[in-house]
């Protein structure tokens, strides 16, 4: 049995905003629960109120439009993303990152939004969303605001989202459709595991190259504005300057640096061939 908390399942967005405004940091939002329930069980978080948002109409769903791009609502699970034909054809980097996230069981519950709001430096969806210039739409009783993912992460497990706010949806711009690239994640085992290093690289239709590195700084790191014709050494140098890996229980700083370089070179070879 977990510690005592009140379970609420609001039916409307207005009700949800009020619960968050009234309870602030004492409330935890529940979507997939694959991080929240682990943290509650471990005693890392002890919310007074657990707010299940899944009963709100329009909480889930993927919507595509030429004007706005791809909209990933808060309730969209990783497996829902992976099964979407439009995403498979136009946003392969989202597929590559989602596919490497945890296990099949977890992907059936875990949400794309949950993965980024938990703000782990190794969050698998962050590299794709940063590379594809996505932004978060954050809402509260006070209104809505847009935050690009390049300004979203504030530190280990910290974001710009205030206690009375939630990430309503993620928008991946239409201009990022068709971006070519890939994702490599170093793990201790072949099965599901946290990333020791994650590297995503893409070249968009306008010919801009971007690289995102996970697990090598307090937040995922985006390196943008790269010319796709740059020599590999120059790309590696730009990426190496941007990261600040540390040694910890899973890997040394040197190993992380080495594998980032290795993956950058491999991704460059693949995207240029």
């Amino acid at each position: 049995m977990l510690h005592h908390f009140t379970y609420l399942a609001p039916r409307t967005r207005a009700e949800l905003h009020s619960v968050l405004a009234d309870n602030g940091a004492a409330a935890s939002l529940l979507a997939g629960g694959t991080d929240l329930l682990v943290n509650i069980r471990a005693g890392l978080t002890r919310p007074k109120v657990v707010v299940d948002a899944k009963k709100i109409e329009g909480f889930g769903g993927l919507v595509w439009s030429e004007s706005e791009g791809l909209v990933i609502r808060a309730g969209v699970t990783i497996n829902a993303l992976l099964g979407d034909a439009k995403i498979r054809s136009d946003y392969p980097l989202l597929i590559a990152c989602g596919h490497d996230l945890a296990s099949h069981q977890i992907r059936n519950r875990a949400t794309v939004v949950g993965n980024v709001v938990n703000a782990s430096p190794c969050a698998d969806m962050a590299p794709a969303l940063l590379c594809l210039r996505a932004h978060a739409v954050i809402s509260s009783k006070r209104g809505e605001r847009d935050v690009p993912f390049s300004a979203f992460f504030k530190g280990v497990k910290r974001t710009v989202v205030a206690p009375d706010e939630l990430v309503e949806r993620i928008v991946v711009p239409a201009a990022s459709a068709g971006a070519r690239g890939g994702y490599y994640k170093l793990k201790r085992i072949n099965g599901h595991d946290l990333g020791i290093v994650g590297v995503a690289l893409c070249i968009d239709r306008n010919g801009e190259m971007r690289v995102t590195i996970g697990s090598c700084a307090p937040t995922p790191v985006l390196v943008e504005g790269l010319d796709p014709s740059l020599p590999a050494d120059a790309v590696v140098a730009a990426v190496t300057r941007a990261i600040s890996p540390i040694s910890d229980v899973r890997a040394t700083k040197e190993y992380r640096q080495h594998m980032v370089e290795h993956y950058v070179r491999r991704l460059l070879d693949e995207v240029r061939s």
Binding site: M1, L2, H3, H4, F5, T6, Y7, A9, L30, G33, T34, L37, V38, R41, A42, V50, D52, K54, N79, A102, S103, H104, Q105, I106, N108, R109, N190, G191, H192
Partner: protein, 161 residues
């Protein structure tokens, strides 16, 4: 709070605390102890059940969340006391040693073959990646799924998954 769930096809209604997870709800409030608690943190997959047809870790789902939904557990496999073909294949292929991971393995395999009746070895490995076995070894488990889906097993490489 009152929780109403369809479990293995039968509607089940119980009064349970709102802080209880689906795993403990099944074991302690419904009396279905086939679903096992391994790690309790979404790592090992021993507690895998199907929620509206999709495999989930029941330790990471609150019972309150599944109110009105449909759950399938290992107890739903056998029909009239006769083990399912999948269960028989696990027995025949010696895919069970201590048996603790087996209910979760079978439920993940069930979800896989329900949507992919002839999975390849790679697809089986991926479908079962969220289920840890610490004693039998994975080769026999993969062979059991091949056997249950009418596929040859003798040519399988004896390598660790």
């Amino acid at each position: 709070m009152k929780i109403r769930v369809t479990i293995n096809g039968a509607l089940c209604e119980r009064e349970a605390p709102e802080t209880i997870n689906l795993l403990h709800f099944l074991r302690e409030y419904v009396g279905l102890t086939g679903t096992k608690e391994g790690c309790g943190g979404g790592e090992c997959g021993a507690c895998t059940v199907l929620l509206d047809g999709h495999p989930v870790n029941s330790c990471l789902v609150l019972a309150a969340e599944v109110d009105g939904k449909s759950v399938r557990t290992i107890e739903g496999e056998a029909r009239d006391g006769k083990p399912s073909e999948l269960q028989q294949a696990f027995a025949k292929r010696h895919a069970v040693q201590c048996g603790f991971c087996t209910p979760g393995m079978v439920m993940s395999a069930r979800a896989l073959i329900d949507c992919n009746p002839k999975p390849s070895v790679e697809e089986i490995k991926e479908g079962l990646e969220g289920n840890f076995c610490r004693c039998t070894g994975y080769v026999q488990i993969i062979e059991a799924v091949l056997e249950a889906t009418g596929q040859p097993t003798s040519t399988q490489e004896r390598s660790h998954a």
